[in-house]
């Protein structure tokens, strides 16, 4: 193929049966009228899950030559851009993209089996797909499963499509490893996670996550950099001395044992430091609520309200009565029962979790745990206040934040909750300097229920018990995130899972269960068995490779987008507090025969007959509310609703969205297009939800009654339908035991009674080059050039002393095996790892016959883990991410 063909046009070649070579050698379309022109476009980056950095795209002669941060005054990245954002041009100019609609002609499916893709026109592909989906819908719409994931976070039609179609089975590929939402939903009424207020925080403890640097998110790194310069103390509890640990104190910990550390830290605060925010506990939590021996609140007979104990007259009163001397701690006799306060229950429950006890499990020295507990409370400035915008807030400049590497273990939900309890002991919830939710900043987040405690939000609020269950199996895991592994288990074993219908169609839209879940073979088998599968895809990833139809979508730079600002996953500070914003991406002209994902979905919907009319996509969109920021999002409202009976272009939808926006002050979509953004700063006091329900107007659960209520409902539902909990041997021991309002040390199949040769524990992390494969970063050659020079990337990291003990040298080829699978790779000996840890970063490896070769190089951490039900955290359904492993040298391997 001539390398000089600079201006050849795309030849549409419907009917061709493609090889890898013919697909990758297809030249991009260049518009000849762009010759000699320079253009600058407003962009929004999408090279990580956050996807909100404002960028500036420069085109010369129609070719994107530069992608950089937009102006230094534009939030949230203020002109900076991470390595992935800077490599975005390679996402656009990627020969391994899917460039035209394809239909499989080889019925045999496998990662090394050529599908013999036949290129077809869009008409044919859409008609065929819609016909198949309509058949499924006519029979039973629940037969369609939609697998979404980080590959596409920008579609606004997917959810309305799903609802209009009538399937409950939206399966997030990411959920098995992202069970990090329970605590945030319960305590903050927010989604997805809780973050630290880096504007004011003085002491921050971070576990199992990043505040920015570990995987180079721009806004988090900016804020952390400023906070450290201000003098904030950072403590990083992690088996790995990470990029962030280099900026503060590193506390090495054995993988998968954070729950023990957290329990000990809480114990130390309660029993040794002895100081905590009594005011906060008494007024803003259910710690003083009286708990009966039966486990429920002691309720006032007249009003049904939970009661607290007044020491001044030794009687319990409803929580909203006035008290002479409210008891935080104690057990009291009332009408023949001994009731204890929630605080006492927690304290008693944590009594055995001394720092010495924890040290045996986590290897964190007891003295360190004690010191950190004391420092945390010392820095919390309990009792102090701060005034913001004329409102007086409690000021608690400390925060402890956990995420994936803490929560994705058996007992992970408990770890999440103990972290919240620790923050509550310091009073650092939703106040300046402390721990805030990273989502909706309105009052509804923490509005009180009739019990006086706030309504459990998002995933802490049980899903309805649907029976027969849907493919998601979330009836049995009412607080889970997304559960694709349970779907696969149910399909293998429909009787066990009480599944009464079959999977008939699979629509893949951004998810990759095969590479980024556990035990890939189960999903390959699932895709072999499903009668029809279609993938709306950017590149030939594993699920796309196994599909029947491929509908190629634009890459993100080609994808027009209007987006509201979602507060960020890592941290908050004055750079974004109070920010409400719309962002707009001006699309680059498409290089290939691709379509915008929302156009694809609308075309499919039209052909299936679910686009218009009542209950159609437009109707649903008219009533859709932003999941994360609720009424602050781009929700359509009167008088700007869509006419549900005509077809609309995306621009029409965007226009109405802008006009409907809560913070619009007369601007139109054209204004947003021109500027690239629309910024509306709100008073900073509205950023802390304490503002909406101050003092004792709402309460957070300190004693996690929500777990008991969920368990009661679940048990009742199982009994009502006469079924047992699927997939486990003993539902009391394996499931209900965990729904305990007092978090406890659950133990883990990876820590207890393991065969002695499994003497190490594997761990995984995201890196600056890999933060989930959003934007296809694994295959991006600019990033690959850089990560190949990174000592700890895509290798098997081992503590140097441990390696010496095992006779391993740096560079040796080794095999790491868990009880479920194995990987091979090169060893990297390092001082940066806990002696018991084996570290493998990112998600490299696997791939298919038609992959970008970079996708085929391992090692792939996911091959070490399992999705077996008895290893999951039963509350969140999360997969264990620190399996015990053994390591041995292997001869004759090569990188």
């Amino acid at each position: 193929m001539s390398r000089q063909a600079y201006r050849s046009t795309l030849s549409e070649s419907a009917g061709t049966i493609h090889t890898l070579e013919s697909m990758t050698s297809r030249w991009e379309r260049i518009d000849p009228s762009d010759e000699g022109k320079t253009q600058v476009l407003h962009g929004i980056c999408r090279m990580c899950m956050q996807g909100d950095c404002a960028t500036k795209i420069t085109l010369e002669d129609g070719i994107v030559t530069r992608v950089e941060g937009a102006g230094t005054d534009i939030p949230p990245n203020y002109g900076n851009l991470c390595p992935r954002g800077n490599s975005a041009a390679m996402n656009l100019y990627n020969p391994y993209r899917v460039k035209a609609p394809l239909i499989r002609t080889n019925p045999e499916k496998g990662l090394d089996v050529d599908p013999k893709w036949k290129e077809v026109t869009w008409e044919e592909a859409l008609d065929y797909t819609a016909k198949k989906l309509k058949e499924v819908r006519d029979e039973d719409p629940r037969g369609l499963a939609i697998c979404e994931g980080w590959g596409n976070r920008e579609t606004i039609v997917r959810v309305p499509f799903k609802i209009a179609y009538g399937t409950p089975n939206e399966i997030g590929a990411h959920g098995s490893f992202c069970t990090v939402h329970y605590g945030t939903g319960l305590i903050h009424g927010n989604f997805p996670v809780s973050v630290v207020d880096l504007e004011h925080c003085e002491y921050h403890i971070t576990l199992g996550r990043t505040i920015g640097p570990n995987f180079a998110t721009v806004p988090g790194t900016r804020k952390l950099s400023q906070a450290l310069e201000r003098g904030m103390k950072l403590v990083v509890v992690d088996p790995r001395s990470s990029h962030e640990a280099a900026k503060g104190e590193w506390v090495p910990i054995k993988p998968g044992t954070d729950l023990a550390f957290l329990l000990a830290m809480a114990h130390s605060i309660l029993f040794e430091v002895g100081r905590y925010d009594v005011w906060f506990l008494k007024n803003r939590t259910n710690a003083p609520y009286l708990i009966t021996p039966g486990g429920d609140y002691l309720r006032d007979e007249a009003t049904g309200k939970p009661m607290m104990w007044d020491l001044s007259d030794s009687t319990p009163k409803p929580f909203d009565a006035s008290f002479g001397d409210l008891a935080l701690e104690g057990s009291f006799e009332w009408k023949g029962q001994t009731c204890s306060t929630g605080f006492t229950k927690i304290k008693e429950g944590f009594k055995e979790y001394t720092p010495e006890w924890a040290e045996k499990i986590s290897t964190v020295p007891a003295a360190t745990t004690r010191r950190i507990a004391r420092e945390f409370i010392d820095h919390a400035r309990i009792g102090s206040t701060i005034e913001i915008d004329g409102f007086t807030f409690p000021f608690r400049p400390v925060s402890l934040n956990c995420e994936r590497n803490v929560m994705n273990h058996k007992g992970g939900t408990h770890a999440d909750l103990v972290g919240k309890i620790i923050n509550m002991l310091a009073g650092a919830i939703e106040v300046p300097g402390g721990c805030l939710g990273c989502g909706y900043r309105g009052g509804a987040a923490i509005a009180p229920s009739p019990d006086g405690t706030m309504f459990p939000g998002y995933e802490s609020h049980d899903r309805p018990f649907v029976f027969p269950p849907d493919l998601t199996m979330q009836s049995f895991y009412p607080n889970s995130h997304t559960t694709p592994h349970l779907t696969a288990a149910a399909l293998r074993n429909p009787e066990e899972y009480h599944l009464e219908y079959q999977l008939k169609a699979w629509l893949n839209l951004g998810g990759n269960l095969i590479r980024f879940n556990a035990e890939p073979e189960q999903y390959i088998e699932m895709m072999r068995k499903v009668p029809f599968s279609v993938s709306i895809a950017y590149q030939m990833d594993e699920p796309t490779f196994l599909s029947d139809v491929v509908l190629p979508e634009h890459c993100f730079m080609e994808r027009e987008r209007l987006a509201p600002f979602w507060p960020q996953h890592q941290a908050t500070s004055d750079e974004v507090s109070g920010l409400q914003m719309l962002q707009y991406r001006q699309p680059v002209k498409p290089l290939y025969n691709t379509m915008h994902v929302d156009d694809i979905l609308m075309e499919l919907a039209e052909r299936i007959g679910i686009l218009r009319g009542e209950g159609g996509v437009y109707d649903i969109m008219n009533h859709d509310v932003d999941y994360i920021i609720k009424e602050d999002g781009l929700n359509l409202r009167e008088p700007y609703l869509l006419d549900i009976n005509t077809k609309h272009t995306r621009q029409e939808i965007y226009e109405k969205q802008v006009l409907s926006w809560k913070y619009n002050q007369g601007e139109t979509f054209a204004d947003v297009q021109r500027e690239g953004h629309l910024v509306k700063w709100q008073p900073k006091k509205t950023h802390y939800t304490y503002y909406y329900y101050p003092d004792n107007q709402t309460r957070h659960e300190f004693y996690i009654m929500n777990l008991k209520h969920t368990a009661d409902r679940l048990r009742a539902n199982l009994e009502k339908h006469g079924v047992k909990f699927p997939g486990v041997a003993d539902q009391e021991r394996d499931v209900f035991r965990f729904y305990n309002p007092v978090p406890f040390w659950t133990g883990s199949p990876e820590l207890d009674d393991i065969p002695p040769e499994y003497d190490l524990w594997a761990m995984n992390w995201k890196s600056p080059y890999f933060s989930s494969d959003v934007g296809g970063c694994i295959g991006n050659p600019w990033l690959a050039e850089v990560y190949k020079k990174d000592p700890w990337e895509a290798v098997i990291c081992l503590n140097a002393a441990t390696a010496a003990r095992k006779g391993l040298k740096d560079g040796d080829w080794v095999k790491v095996s868990s009880r479920y699978g194995s990987v091979e790779g090169q060893v990297r000996t390092s001082q940066l790892f806990h002696p018991d840890a084996v570290g493998i970063s990112g998600g490299y490896g696997l791939g298919s016959l038609h992959s970008n070769p970079l996708y085929r190089r391992g090692p792939l951490f996911n091959q070490l883990i399992t999705s077996r039900e008895d290893t999951l955290d039963p509350i969140s359904g999360g997969i264990e991410l620190a399996p015990c492993v053994k390591i041995e040298k292997k001869e004759g391997g090569r990188a």
């Binding site: 991470c82 391994y96 001395s241 280099a246 590193w250 050659p781 001082q831 002696p835």
Partner: protein, 201 residues
């Protein structure tokens, strides 16, 4: 006017945004990078930390590369930047052997970004700016400087660890930061008088 840079190693988080921004802005061919970031570790467990050292060209005031260049392709400009005139370079590579900071690279051949596939449109366009068989190096993004901007690596850094400006002006941000943070050049003992200063680390 003498351009110089300060890099605060206490703030650098080793993300390589600078390296990729450099590739993005300068369009260097596959395998060629005008910027590098050294990542290494210091200490012994449990007191071990990741260390980072981002390195553009040091733009030495007494540049060994300028000294050995036989055709005068490498010149020291009055504004302190050491530049290579690709039209004069004969590709003898003595500058590479002379440079103690490993800041220069020879374009052996034009590889493709995506191995085993074709060169992308972007490459085809930007290759026109380079000549096979010559040596390239960081020029502190001269084109951007002429537009009044700072270097790409400085502009993109998420932790704002870099300051770029006029070393001859004692009141410029970079001059004051060098003094305030006690910044020194890397491997100062080599006496090439770099224009890039490092603080912390």
């Amino acid at each position: 006017m003498r351009y110089g840079m300060l890099i605060d190693l206490n703030k650098c988080v080793g993300c390589n945004a600078c390296t990729v921004a450099c590739r993005n802005n300068n369009g260097t061919p596959a395998g060629v990078s005008l910027h590098k970031l050294l990542k290494y570790e210091a200490g012994v467990y449990p007191n071990a930390k990741m260390k980072f050292r981002p390195m553009p060209c040091m733009h030495c005031q007494d540049a060994p590369c300028a000294k050995v260049c036989p055709t005068g392709a490498t010149v020291q400009r009055p504004d302190g930047i050491v530049d290579v005139d690709a039209n004069k370079c004969i590709g003898c590579r003595s500058c590479i052997t002379a440079c103690p900071y490993d800041s220069r690279q020879f374009i052996w051949d034009f590889g493709d970004y995506y191995e085993q596939a074709q060169p992308t449109r972007l490459e085809q366009k930007r290759r026109l700016e380079f000549q096979k068989g010559t040596v390239v190096k960081c020029t502190f993004c001269l084109t951007r400087l002429q537009q009044g901007k700072v270097t790409a690596c400085t502009a993109t850094c998420p932790s704002q660890c870099r300051v770029f400006g006029d070393l001859d002006d004692p009141n410029s941000e970079v001059s004051r930061a060098i003094v305030d943070k006690g910044a020194r050049p890397f491997r100062e003992e080599l006496e090439t008088h770099p224009s890039v200063y490092y603080a912390g680390g």
